[in-house]
């Protein structure tokens, strides 16, 4: 990193700037998470505390009523389970399709390679738009199925190219020796290339997973059956409403009007936050390996 190898500059102005920079960036770091910490604290607070205290990072009166209300509601539980399932299956499919296309494209002498790559790049700068895509999904009979949340965005062109670039810079000797031993391309991919690419593939798996988990547009467009709604749709429903009745939530415990909004935000975020440390370990490295080497 740049600054560690600098010679230290101990001019007064330089030190003043350093102090200022430390203060400023600490503030920026706190600003990035304080809103979330407030929501987390609010999700454990009583209705009274939420409506009377303007800002707090720890509830005075700790309660789990909001969560109890959610956990007794089939609607939210069902949406949670569905979203987890769609995310897991979807990630496997999306990553699988991406790898299967990226690997052949990493062979520089593959006939037709440049044509396919140009077409892929073209889709990055031009897309037919929302309505024609919607009509294709409709014509394929995917409306109101979970496939509509997985297939239309199955291969992300950026991810494809970065993974392709990564495969391309792997030492070719390993593959060649496997081929001499009689392995076909699929076996080389499975037993040589994929094991060597685990960190990169893990990174993109997590990107795909976060993408599916966070997706709001696809369920909005393709799922009119509210019984199939994903967690993001429910979250929207809950937080946009002025208040909810126990009936609407299909819950035995009457929901606290504000508290439940805090708790649903947390529930919709927790899986992403759990994945974040793993993601963070790899993403800078994984993305750069692929994009730096041509």
């Amino acid at each position: 990193m740049a600054s560690s190898t600098h010679k230290r500059f101990n001019t007064r102005a330089g030190r003043a700037f350093d102090v200022l920079n430390v203060v400023l960036l600490t503030g920026v770091g706190l600003l990035a998470i304080l809103p979330f910490v407030y929501v987390l604290a609010g999700s454990f607070a009583t209705e009274l505390e939420i409506t009377t205290r303007p800002f707090f990072l720890w509830p005075d009166d700790f309660t789990t009523t909001s969560y109890e209300s959610i956990l007794s509601s089939d609607v939210i539980l069902r949406a949670f389970v569905t979203t987890v399932a769609v995310t897991v299956v979807g990630t496997l499919i999306q990553l699988g399709l991406t790898v299967l296309l990226a690997y052949p494209l990493s062979k520089v002498d593959l006939p037709g390679r440049r044509t396919v790559l140009s077409l892929v790049v073209f889709t990055m700068v031009f897309s037919a738009g929302m309505i024609p895509t919607f009509l294709v999904v409709k014509d394929l009979g995917l409306l109101d199925t979970y496939w509509s949340l997985i297939l239309p965005a199955a291969i992300n062109p950026f991810s494809l190219i970065i993974i392709k670039n990564f495969f391309q810079q792997l030492p070719s000797e390993l593959e060649e020796s496997a081929k001499i031993d009689g392995a076909n391309e699929l076996q080389v991919l499975r037993h040589v290339v994929i094991p060597l690419s685990k960190p990169v593939l893990a990174t993109f798996a997590l990107f795909y997973a976060v993408g599916i988990w966070n997706d709001y547009l696809s369920p909005l467009l393709y799922l009119s059956d509210t019984g199939k709604w994903t967690l993001q749709m429910i979250l929207r429903q809950v937080t946009a409403a002025a208040s909810l009745s126990a009936d609407e939530l299909n819950s035995d415990v009457p929901p606290p009007a504000q508290g439940i909004k805090f708790a649903v935000v947390i529930i919709a975020t927790i899986p992403v936050l759990l994945a974040y440390p793993f993601l963070q370990k790899h993403f800078a490295k994984g993305m750069l390996i692929g994009s730096v080497k041509g």
Partner: protein
């Protein structure tokens, strides 16, 4: 940045005896072609078939008649859109949202990257990086919901704070005057930190000897930033500017859609949400497709235009 650059030429001899080579290739590469198949089908089905279907923009598409059976009307939908009294308002709203992102959020990203780069305390640098990347991974639904809680009228902490600061008790979530500031705040909160990654990577590649030479020559800190650091991330800035210019009419559907409500529509409606309302909610498929196509073609022209400009000014483009 070589993400889109041409791959290095294969070190093989130029092809001779083309026909025979092609046949031999097909056999030799048959497994690779098989592996590619699902991916190619994906691109054909979900990326190129819609482009073919987009010809309904020039027809009066009636699902019952099918695309081919529907009446051809040429540019009628496009003309209707361009002469629609909504058009100037949509264009203005779209350009303002894009402008806020381009002229405020984007420079802020560069400033944050430079400040992080100047941070000598490595542990603090890593901690701050970890924290500022987090909001990028939250969905727009979560970000908008958090906004709704922070600005909840009467109870939200930011409603209280800004109300005190500006002496107002407006419902900021519904007030048209507050729509753009809120959009900008969300954009900055969610993506500024994440945006620094690419600049920090470019900065990590800067030759340290340049800094040492500059120090020996007596260059101060600000001079080093201005003459070494900034020029070294210039190619990255240019590439991102080109990409962002191409996206200027794409405002990010989810954020705008989730933030708009019946009270702030005058400033909230942008091309993306307009396509949704016209196409999906009102079923005007052809008209909405024409609007979407207009947007996509303008984007394509802009991206090639800025790329050309960048090359004229001796910067590396993306193509």
């Amino acid at each position: 940045m070589t993400l889109l650059a041409a791959p290095p030429a294969p070190p093989h001899a130029p092809p001779r005896g083309r026909r025979r080579r092609r046949l031999g290739d097909l056999v030799r590469y048959r497994w690779l072609f098989v592996l590619m198949l699902p991916g190619l089908v994906y691109f054909a089905l979900f990326r190129f078939w819609p482009m073919w279907g987009a010809r309904i923009a020039f027809k009066n598409y009636i699902p019952f008649l099918g695309i081919d059976g529907s009446e051809w009307v040429g540019l009628a939908h496009l003309r209707e859109f361009l002469s629609n009294p909504d058009f100037p308002r949509l264009l203005e709203n779209t350009l303002i949202v894009a402008g806020l992102s381009l002229f405020i959020a984007f420079p802020l990203t560069i400033v944050l990257a430079l400040l992080l780069n100047e941070l000598r305390l490595q542990i603090l640098k890593r901690t701050v990086q970890t924290l500022v990347y987090i909001p990028h991974f939250l969905s727009w639904t979560v970000v908008v919901s958090i906004t709704a809680l922070l600005f909840a009228i009467g109870t939200g902490p930011l409603w209280t704070f800004f109300g005190w600061l500006f002496g107002t008790d407006a419902n900021m979530l519904a007030d048209p005057d507050w729509f753009r500031p809120l959009i900008l705040m969300q954009e900055v909160w969610k993506n500024t930190g994440w945006g620094t990654i690419i600049f920090l990577a470019a900065l990590a590649g800067v030759d340290q000897e340049q800094y040492e030479a500059a120090i020996i020559d007596g260059a101060g800190r600000w001079q080093r930033v201005w003459h070494i650091t900034l020029p070294s991330i210039m190619p990255t800035i240019v590439v991102l500017l080109i990409l962002q210019t191409g996206q200027i009419l794409n405002t990010g559907f989810e954020q705008i859609y989730l933030m708009s409500n019946s009270l702030n529509r005058t400033v909230a409606d942008v091309f993306d949400t307009y396509v949704y309302f016209a196409g999906i909610e009102q079923g005007a498929y052809s008209y909405a497709t024409a609007v979407g196509l207009f947007k996509a073609i303008v984007g394509l022209v802009l991206i090639f235009g800025t790329n050309w400009l960048a090359k004229r000014f001796n910067q590396q483009g993306i193509f």
